[in-house]
Amino acid sequence: MDPARFTRVDDTTWRIEPYGAMRVPAIIYADEDLIRDMDDKVYEQATNVAMLPGIVQASYAMPDAHWGYGFPIGGVAAFDPDQGGVVSAGGVGFDISCGVRTMLTGLTVADVLPVQKSLADSLFRQIPAGVGSKGTITLDAIDMEAMLAGGACWALEHGWGDARDLERIEEQGRMASAKPECVSERAKERQRREMGTLGSGNHYLEVQAVAEIFDAKVAEVFGLKQDDVVVTIHCGSRGLGHQIGTEFLKEMVVVAEASGIRLPDRELACAPINSEVGQRYLGAMRAAINCALANREILGHYARRIFDHFFPDHDLRLLFDVSHNTCKVEPHVVAGKRRDLFVHRKGATRAFGPGHESLPEALRPVGQPVLIGGSMGTGSYILVGEATGEQKAFSSACHGAGRAMSRHAALKQWSGRKVMDDLAAQGILIRSPSTRGVAEEAPGAYKNVDAVVAAAEHAGLSRRVARLRPLICIKG
């Protein structure tokens, strides 16, 4: 995008003043290089979102913003139900509550290197990942309802997890007001045998090492030291979430027009929060959040079990579990008044600052961990939420590097086999059932996550705590 199209507020804040049908400005947080790199669709989509009824304050885009469905990926938008605010299936995405959890191991790189290959092979063999992989958990109708209502709490009740995990998961591991009855039979059918599976595409389980500490004080509170080994899982609500997204997108396209909402773009399919379909979507979406939370809890349990074999005296402890495709009701102060807003974050992470009441006691003094995935061969980051984030974008931050090129182009450029060999030469073991999938996820296909997190920090959205480098990457 051409920076001249924006009003430059400061080095990392770019405004599009309201024009035409925009009700609020659009604000993009990024440095100039990132702005130039962003596709023009981000401008178009951020301004389109600003046209939706009931939008509050601004339509935001994070430093890793790129072209999405209706909403840009990396988009944040909050709506007030009392002002005719809408909820949008496109503003949440197809992978509802896709998110990341990082678990501390208490091990160091020196502990892991001697068994790196065996550990990689064991993780790859044991954890179902990719199309055609088979989970071993089948949910009957009663289990399904309970899982959709109970989330990670349900998983824990059945032995899949540790009680100490719950306070380290958003919503304490259970999204309230979930309505399993609003989830279709087809969505449930798609999930029946999918619990405890990793998925494919950009989902992964990584064993990582702390490569650099930026904030020693916060790192200590988080339990991170140089050369510590952690396990990170990136996964979402699987088939259930995808089916819900698909079905409600269709319904909302029809309903939006019937409600008299002028959609600048059909992909912005939405419904008034206080409408029947809006409420049904919220109920189903919350159930999908529970599905994702339960799934990551189960996968975390698998990781614990496998690590148990190699390191029986150590236990995996959950640092935090964040989601980046959700719509959540949160209290925010706008123009001096406290309002309950429906905050859409699509490819954006909630990032509460220090003192936030929802944070567990141990973390409250410093703020919420924000887990940012990089690409397969490069690094990931752990950030911490900033108090300034609240005014900037309703306490939101970026979610990852974002792709620099399409899967199509990546496949033309790289051979999966070569990518794996090159990374192995750097000490990074990749395990995947598809070399084509590896090529599509090649490190070069992604943008530079360093620049994205630096911009997020400069913009006051969240602050770097540690950089992680991969040792093992399992992808489906």
Binding site: R125, G159, H301, R305, D308, P312
Partner: protein, 77 residues
């Protein structure tokens, strides 16, 4: 009869109490077998192999039946 197979917790114990072939024999004779998830991780046996042999995969040794008839453990050499 109900038989539980926990994951071994002894260091370097890569053997596991029962292998899928044995489980298949047991389930064929009408016994119920529950295997703790990832019990075979050290022996390169996956949950799916146990499930295919007729075992039920459970989350942890705590979820093995409250009173299995007996529990198969790998014995120290």
């Amino acid at each position: 009869m109900f038989i539980g197979v926990p994951k071994e917790i002894k260091a370097d114990e890569y053997r596991v109490g029962l292998i899928p072939a044995t489980i298949k024999e047991l389930t064929a004779r009408g016994h119920q077998v529950a295997v703790e998830t990832m019990a075979g991780a050290g022996a390169d046996i996956v949950d799916q192999d146990y499930a295919a042999a007729g075992a039920q995969i459970v989350a942890s040794r705590a979820s093995l039946s409250p009173r299995p008839a007996f529990t198969c453990r790998s014995t120290a050499s």
